[in-house]
């Protein structure tokens, strides 16, 4: 049953590294993470790889497989040709720590910058009433397993290190959208801060993030585009502009 697979693994750290070729047994039904584990147990005891659940639920084993951002636990070896060499490399948008492990702390910093959920003041625990249809919009985004594949593939982050400071990335745009569409959240102006503080305007909706999402969240269509449209409405709404003008007049 077992056959030999040619696997090419990037090994190294922030100072130096390169692709190493190995041959490894592969059995029916195995995913790329299985063969990486076999290499680890039999040939390279110190091969660094992140993983947790091996069931596509935790989003830890993100890497690039033949150049595409993917979860190694959800990528069947059989989805490649029998003679094809499979190449595994670390996420390119983040600094390498060792082998297939990268420093994803950028994402955790951004997570801390998104203003938290603000509950209604008068609502007692147990009294909330929401319609299923109203919670479903946010629920789609709350499915996110934080694999950061969308962040990795987003060219705003991937190709421009300097953007990282002012750009939160697709994962955090859906976080903002999720709160913005939350039936109970009381914080105002989430869309505007998305635009002004988290770099929503830098996204030019190429939908790369949506394509790599293992949870099939429609990041671009359901979160980013609706927010962008609303931002435009708010900014260029003639009624609001007129009201703003009145306010300024009153102040003066």
């Amino acid at each position: 049953m077992a056959r030999k697979l040619n696997l090419r693994i990037w090994r190294g750290d922030s100072t130096d590294g390169g692709l190493k070729d190995v041959q490894v047994d592969v059995n029916e039904g195995e995913v790329v993470l299985d063969v990486i584990h076999r290499v680890q147990a039999t040939q390279m005891g110190d091969l660094a790889v992140r993983w947790n659940c091996k069931a596509g639920k935790c989003g830890s084993c993100s890497m690039e497989i033949n150049g595409k951002p993917r979860l190694a636990c959800m990528t069947q070896v059989a989805s490649f040709g029998e003679d094809e060499t499979i190449t595994v490399t670390p996420l390119r948008a983040f600094p390498v720590i060792k082998d297939l492990v990268t420093d994803v702390s950028f994402n955790y910093k951004k997570a801390m910058e998104i203003p938290a959920y603000e509950p209604p003041k008068e609502l007692a625990p147990g009294e909330a009433r929401m319609e299923q249809i109203d919670v479903e919009r946010s629920q789609e985004f709350r499915k996110c397993i934080e694999c950061f594949l969308c962040q990795d593939t987003c060219h705003v982050i991937r190709d421009h290190e300097e953007n990282k400071k002012s750009f939160a990335g697709p994962r955090f745009f859906i976080r903002i959208a999720e709160l913005d569409m939350h039936p109970l959240d009381m914080l105002k102006n989430r869309k505007r801060t998305a635009q002004e503080e988290h770099g929503l305007g830098m996204c030019n909706i190429t939908k790369c993030c949506t394509e790599v999402c293992p949870e099939h969240i429609k990041i671009t269509d359901n979160a980013i585009i609706p927010m962008k449209e609303r931002v435009v409405d708010i900014k260029y709404d003639p009624a609001r502009m007129f009201a703003g003008l009145l306010k300024r007049e009153k102040r003066s």
Binding site: N27, G45, Y108, P115, A116
Partner: protein, 630 residues
């Protein structure tokens, strides 16, 4: 080797080991009590095993059936655990679970709704009424994200107050604790290393909350992630705490069985809650044959009644697919052993015949994906192949129910799966998520109270040196044992000899083999350097798993009865005398020792919640005559 001068040091009031549901809930509680808190996790933040919890969180809110109450929930929990539960834990859990769920909603959680807009609740094995708050089949993820974001909220508040978001609550991700430190008999902190760099780190704190989850990786076929290596169980043992009832392991009846790569991955009980039925290779719906006497009045003994139950729960008994997990797992095991299994050694679980495809995809979305992407099976059209998988450990650190304080070690607390007692000999599905919340909160409060009354307890240089020496050791050995091979050997031993069905001869053999692996593990050598080196990491995880396996095997040998997650082929059936006894494991520095200890007698008003005829099935005539304590 790190010298004590260059060693990275941190000081906190409360140190929380583990960032799953229990750890995060404890962190929130301790921070809101005004203390500084460090949260340590082995993985990245937000990857804890809690995210794998699918079905839901059990709480008697009564949103779907208003006959539900904490008393009914308490009764179900005690029955599920075959009355070996610590009654006080089951009581606190049943009483406080609804508040913990509503509290999550106030923190932003978005549970599925009923038509009236309340939190929806679904049926689950062993629960008399629809009781599980849920979000599709990803409830654990919702709970973790909600608490992760609650912690960010607290950090943003601290940021406004102290100018530093991490001033009072900080997450130390990818950090492994190897030792819990004590001075003068009390907790003083913990020692460990950064997984990323291998550098060592000291946390000084007068209170430590262990919330490290389970032990599944001790077994070959498990639904647990790599983190379930019993770290907290072992750390607590070595710090002088006890483990209670480690023989009780829950084998979830439905894990995937094919292809081999996915063997063990969980198939949520919601599949059965939503109407999935179990059949063998003869096409027989076999669960009707396996309804034990104690449950005969609650479960349908024919298909017609079982089917009617989905529409009319007041006038029909439940389908036997929804028996507690231990019963279903044993039944599947028996069917397969009798030659009525599937091609790959499981049985069939089918939801496609009862529920329309679009409803399956909506209610069980991640199950649909899991089977479609990993097994090539479309569950809206075909049956799944399933079999038992090691899922949960009922045994754990012996704690005081109200404060979650570990018995015998001042300053040490434990909550969640790592704590023992709550679930008795078998846990009901859905009771784990609310266990995390109820006792996580209590542990945070217990730790906060302890710190306020006890003050700092500095760590000595001697303690640091001994902890540091242990971390260095595997690098100084050349040509020793391979930790990956030893781990695989241990998993074979536990799976084959202390698995679902046990006998004296096999357990004795297991104890011998575990001791042998432990001796060889003292000679584990690590290749490569300290930087993110999984071989090095596994060396420490392996130590923990070995202590856990030894505790389980030795407890299993002594308990000469079958109850819940402990089945002895040579002692079938429950023994009321054994029901009165907990088995307490302790560590003498060399080996694990087990002693029996009387189970706390149930309080009279809780005793009175049960029909006396039901209690007669579990208790001795003397206990019945006594009618509970005091």
């Amino acid at each position: 080797m790190t010298s004590s001068v260059t060693l990275e040091r941190h000081k906190y009031d409360v140190l929380i080991i583990g960032a799953g549901g229990a750890g995060l809930r404890a962190a929130v509680e301790a921070r809101e009590a005004g203390l500084s808190v460090a949260i340590i996790c082995k993985s990245l933040f937000g990857k804890a095993h809690t995210v794998m919890a699918e079905g839901g969180a059990a709480a008697s809110m009564g949103n779907v059936n208003d006959n539900d109450s904490w008393m009914v929930h308490f009764r179900d929990t005690m029955r599920g655990g075959k009355f070996l539960n610590h009654y006080r834990m089951a009581e606190l859990h049943a009483k406080e679970a609804p508040d913990r769920i509503w509290e999550l909603e106030m923190w932003g959680a978005l549970f599925d709704r009923t038509k009236e807009g309340k939190i929806s609740q679904r049926n689950f094995g062993g629960h008399e009424y629809p009781r599980l708050a849920h979000v599709g089949d990803r409830t654990g993820l919702e709970i973790i994200r909600t608490m992760q974001q609650k912690i960010v909220q607290l950090q943003q508040k601290d940021g406004r107050e102290f100018g530093d978001m991490e001033a009072k609550i900080k997450v130390f991700a990818e950090c492994t604790i190897t030792e819990i430190l004590k001075e003068n008999g009390k907790i003083s902190g913990a020692y460990g290393y950064w997984r990323e760099s291998g550098a060592e780190v000291l946390f000084e704190a007068p209170a430590v909350v262990i919330a490290t989850g389970g032990v599944g990786k001790t077994f070959k076929i498990t639904s647990n992630s790599w983190e379930g290596t019993g770290d907290g169980h072992a750390l607590a043992l070595k710090a002088g705490a006890n483990l209670v009832d480690m023989e009780f392991l829950q084998f979830h009846p439905t894990g995937m069985v094919w292809p081999p790569s996915v063997r063990g991955i969980l198939v949520t009980e919601s599949v059965r809650g939503e109407g999935g039925i179990l059949t063998n290779s003869d096409g027989e719906r076999f669960m009707f044959k396996y309804i034990p006497d104690v449950f005969k009045d609650k479960y349908a003994d024919n298909e017609a009644e079982a089917d009617r139950w989905y529409e009319d729960q007041d006038n029909n008994r439940r389908p036997p697919e929804l028996l507690p997990r231990d019963e279903v797992a044993r039944a599947i095991n028996t069917e397969v052993k009798a030659g009525r299994g599937t091609e790959h050694g499981g049985v069939f679980l089918d939801v496609s015949k009862r529920i329309p495809a679009e409803v399956i995809k909506k209610r069980l979305p991640s199950m649909w994906h899991q089977f479609y992407e990993l097994a090539g099976v479309d569950i809206t059209k075909e049956a799944m192949e399933v079999g038992p998988t090691c899922h949960y450990v009922m045994g754990g650190v012996e704690v005081d129910p109200d404060s979650a304080a570990a018995i015998g070690v001042p300053g040490l607390f434990a909550a969640g799966e790592v704590a023992g007692g709550m679930h008795g000999s078998n846990r009901l599905g859905g009771n784990s998520l609310t266990d995390l919340l109820v006792f996580g909160r209590r542990a945070g409060a217990g730790a906060a109270e302890y710190v306020k009354s006890s003050g700092a307890n500095p760590v000595s240089d001697a303690a640091i040196k001994s902890a540091a020496d242990r971390i260095e050791a595997p690098f100084s050995r050349a040509g020793g044992e391979n930790s990956y091979s030893l781990h695989a050997e241990l998993q074979e031993v536990t799976h084959n000899l202390v698995g679902i069905i046990r006998t004296r001869v096999e357990i004795e053999k297991a104890i011998e083999m575990i001791a042998d692996i432990r001796t060889r593990s003292k000679n584990v050598a690590v290749s490569g350097g300290r930087k993110f080196n999984p071989g090095f990491h596994l060396a420490f995880d392996l130590d923990n798993m070995l202590l856990v396996a030894e505790s389980t095997a030795k407890s299993a040998l002594l308990r000469e009865e079958s109850r819940g997650g402990h089945t002895r082929e040579d002692f079938p059936g429950m023994n009321p005398t054994w029901r009165q006894l907990n088995q307490i494991a302790s560590f003498d520095g060399d080996k694990v020792n087990i002693k029996s200890q009387a189970l706390p007698a149930i309080r009279k008003e809780l005793f009175d919640l049960f029909d006396i005829h039901e209690l007669e099935k579990y208790m001795t005539p003397e206990e019945i005559a006594k009618g509970g304590s005091n």
